[in-house]
Amino acid sequence: MSTHTDVWVLYDTCKAAGISARIAPTPRIADAHASCGTSLLIDCTHRDEILSLANAAGVATNGVIEVENSIDPKRDRYC
């Protein structure tokens, strides 16, 4: 994500749309320049829908990458 606020805005947007998501450290493989930034983990099946929601919400993303087995809604205390 471009900023921490973008993460929270998209997190709220996903929640409102009934899509599970979890905030996590940005994987290093995503963009080394994101460094210790935060990212949003979502199920890959929601990819297009979430990008559309992000665009509608004015959220700036730095990119989307696929990682294996990282999404676990049980870990998200805000879900």
Binding site: M1, H4, V7, W8, I23, H33, A34, G37, T38, G58
Partner: protein, 384 residues
């Protein structure tokens, strides 16, 4: 103690504010520095308060709300970031030094033009004169919503129309009105709203911020760690984090959130009614005392909870000290960091004694203050 210096800071806060700060102190990590619970708790709190601020002022979105140390820092961010060589700015004599000094500095360091519209001795602003103060290169008007000396409130919607007709931005200092008077950033045409948290929003000191209309990009005022894009040499340019750097005051912002919750649950109109009733009670009681002269307060389109007085030609510091030492009443004497307003009122030498109420001020406290001033007047040589 009877606290009547709420225009400086509200001393009595809703208990929820202290509870929120204590909870934050005992649980928060550093926001945006991790995805573990303590960090997320802090990040979530900050984001929720951004939403509260955006809703309170009808700002475009939480992403257009940046936090600062106080309203002075917010005004420095705006004036320092947007005004430059060749630009011109308009303000009024009602402005606090938080507006005047950044503008003066721009004048000296960058040759920025500046017009200061006078205020009449009743506290009123001549809007036609304000209109005529704009030039072809006026970049912004920076105005106070209400005078911190007299409480006179100005018509920001009308000021916005004037500023926009000259293609200038309107920046509003809401130090005295945020939480005490309804403010609708979009309906009023405010381009940038600067606020403080520790007055009528009942948050702790060290909180404040600015709300910025879409399409206005302010360069970072301070730069440093943000928790993202760490390898970039430049500070991120995207709001709200573009105007913040380093660890944010999450503990204070949590308290500010509780203060805003209090204000919105009571209703700003209801709080304003209480403040107005106490202000009217205080003014009526003080005005009836021989030798007391009310300064301003009826020149605006509304009034915030301030009554400014002089007593004969007695130094305002003497009166304020007497009120504090003999009666336990807290007021503020002197110039109130608003030198031009005192020039307008003709009180540069004497200063004024400023009484300022909050929604927590009780009727019997007002009565005690009136009786104290009456006793001081009777005890001085003028009253005998």
């Amino acid at each position: 103690m009877i606290y009547l210096d709420n225009a400086a800071t509200t001393q009595k806060k809703p208990p929820e504010v202290a509870e929120a700060i204590c909870h934050a102190l005992l649980s928060f990590g550093d926001a945006g520095r991790g995805a573990y619970e303590a960090s997320l708790d802090a990040g979530m709190a900050i984001h929720r308060v951004r939403q509260q601020v955006a809703n309170l002022f009808n700002a475009p979105s939480p992403s257009r709300v940046s936090f600062s140390y106080n309203v002075t820092e917010a005004l420095n961010i705006v004036i320092g970031g947007l005004l430059g060589r060749g630009d011109h700015a308009v303000t009024t004599a009602a402005s606090h030094n938080s507006v005047l000094r950044p503008l003066y500095r721009k004048q000296v360091q960058e040759g920025t033009g500046l017009s200061i519209v006078p205020i009449a001795d009743d506290g009123s602003l001549d809007y036609d004169l304000f209109d005529r103060s704009f030039t072809d290169n006026t970049r912004m008007a920076v105005v106070t919503h209400a005078s911190n000396v007299t409480g006179d409130g100005y018509d920001v919607a009308r000021i916005a129309e004037i500023a926009h007709a000259h293609d200038a931005l309107l920046v509003v200092d809401t130090a005295q009105t945020a939480g005490a008077y309804p403010i609708d950033m979009q309906a009023d045409g405010i381009d940038i709203l600067c606020f403080t948290g520790h007055k009528s929003l009942y948050g702790p000191q060290g909180t404040g911020g600015l709300c910025v209309r879409e399409g206005i990009e302010i360069p970072p005022f301070k730069v440093g760690g943000t928790g993202f894009h760490s390898y970039d040499h430049e500070h991120p340019k995207r709001m709200p984090e573009s105007l913040e750097a380093g660890t944010i005051n999450a503990h204070g912002i949590a308290g500010l959130g509780a203060g805003i919750t209090y204000v919105t649950s009571c209703g700003i109109d209801a709080l304003h009614d209480i403040i107005e009733a106490r202000t009217n009670q205080l003014e009526a009681g003080l005005a009836a005392i021989p030798g007391v002269r009310i300064r301003g307060g009826h020149g605006g389109v509304f009034r915030c909870g301030i009554v400014a007085i002089t007593i004969y030609d007695i130094d305002s510091a003497t009166i304020a000290d007497e009120l504090a030492q003999e009666f336990g009443i807290c007021t503020r004497a002197g110039a109130h960091c608003a030198p031009l307003m005192h020039e307008s009122l003709g009180t540069v030498d004497q200063g004024v004694v400023r009484f300022s109420v909050s929604s927590f001020t009780a009727e019997d406290e007002i009565q005690a203050a009136i009786e104290a001033v009456s006793a001081i007047v009777k005890g001085c040589s003028y009253g005998s």
